[in-house]
Symmetry: C3
Subunit: 168 residues, 3 copies
């Protein structure tokens, strides 16, 4: 092959490598959430989010890094840490489209009790991400408990929709 043809092949291969790197980087964000909040590291938890990022659950809204930090440092969460809590993400369905990405999957909160650990929450999650100058950041996380409610079913089903970026 000519040099310019080799260069084209190399550039195409680099794009494929970047996509793999992006997927692992986004996965690392999800993997970091639990260790950050379960160890009370509010700074590390906040750093996962874009300035305009948010978490929306059935019962609460956290706005931006500061909202996440306040949740981690709040009395309710600190009580969970003292009791022993583990926020564990399942391996999600990942989609990357240039500088945007999303992930759909499960999370569970295990809580220590006198006779072992209970599954305190089991939820459906839709995460959205944006590539920034500081790497990938969370722009939104929608979280609904899986107890038959339609919001959780809608999140899980949205993984198979054509257009992944539907959250406002």
């Amino acid at each position: 092959l000519e040099s310019n043809e080799l260069q084209d092949l190399l550039v195409a291969l680099e794009d494929r490598v970047r996509l793999l790197e992006d997927k692992l980087a986004i996965q690392q964000i999800l993997n970091s959430w639990g260790p950050a909040v379960d160890s009370g590291n509010s700074e590390a938890a906040a750093a996962l989010f874009a300035e305009d990022g948010f978490v929306q659950t059935d019962r609460s809204h956290m706005g931006g890094p500061s909202g996440v930090s306040e949740m981690v440092e709040g009395d309710g969460h600190q009580a969970l840490i003292r009791q022993g809590c583990a926020h564990i993400q399942g391996f999600p369905i990942l989609r990357v489209d240039g500088d945007r990405a999303d992930a759909t999957g499960y999370s569970r909160v295990y809580l220590h009790s006198e006779d072992g650990w209970k599954v305190f929450r089991c939820s459906a999650n839709h995460w959205q991400f944006r590539r920034t100058n500081n790497g990938w950041k969370v722009t939104s996380r929608q979280n609904h408990v899986i107890d038959g409610r339609p919001e959780a079913l809608a999140i899980l089903g949205s993984a198979f929709a054509e257009n992944p970026h539907t959250d406002s």
Copy 2:
């Protein structure tokens, strides 16, 4: 290096990238099973399987995409969805060999109840896959609950056998 030497290196590197892509693609199939069946999306669940693919559990057999679809739409599974169920795969041992692949790992079904979520099933799984014109598809999934029965032990132990493709 000469152009033909560079080309050889590039082709070898592309093979390594393809293997990484294959592993992530197969993992995505496993990650898709739960969201598909837990949201009642029978079409998405069926689309994971090859025409001759099947699921074999301790109690049931689903043959092909149509068998999977019937299970999802059946009364038993629909009752689980209304109650709130989460079919979550563990991250498995993955092996890719050209256009065939297999995965050995765990799955759990969490079920909502009045006091949190119960671990309704915890199982050992052996998945096999084939590369098709429509991407990787499941050709077989063997699933046995982990309650001391030898079938589950055999599945988990088979991950360390020389020849991964032992299911018929």
Copy 3:
């Protein structure tokens, strides 16, 4: 581009591919622990460890491959296998630095009982790895149960420290 420039680009891309391969290889070690110990395959469990590798939990110490093998073949663990046990790793925070690597994340032991499966243990883990002539091997695994004890919090928090290689 000139041939030497293409060669430089190719070498740089190969480094990126190797890092991705390393991350998946290390993940496979974690994914292999459960199937090895839950099927009683003491040889496969031992083979994951370097000669000087060890496991340190709140209650036990296993030294080297032989220590791991003894644990798997011991009466206590064999009783768990007969009852039905599943040692499942969460997807961890992974860091690779040349020929060293570490992983921080969760593990759970599910145990079969008359009414489903109980979460028998939920733990924080810090794994360290070394690249050897036989591939990546575990040099240390620190494991502490998540019940509010500071050792578990320290493990989870260490994932965000600058220097990942702090275990002796």
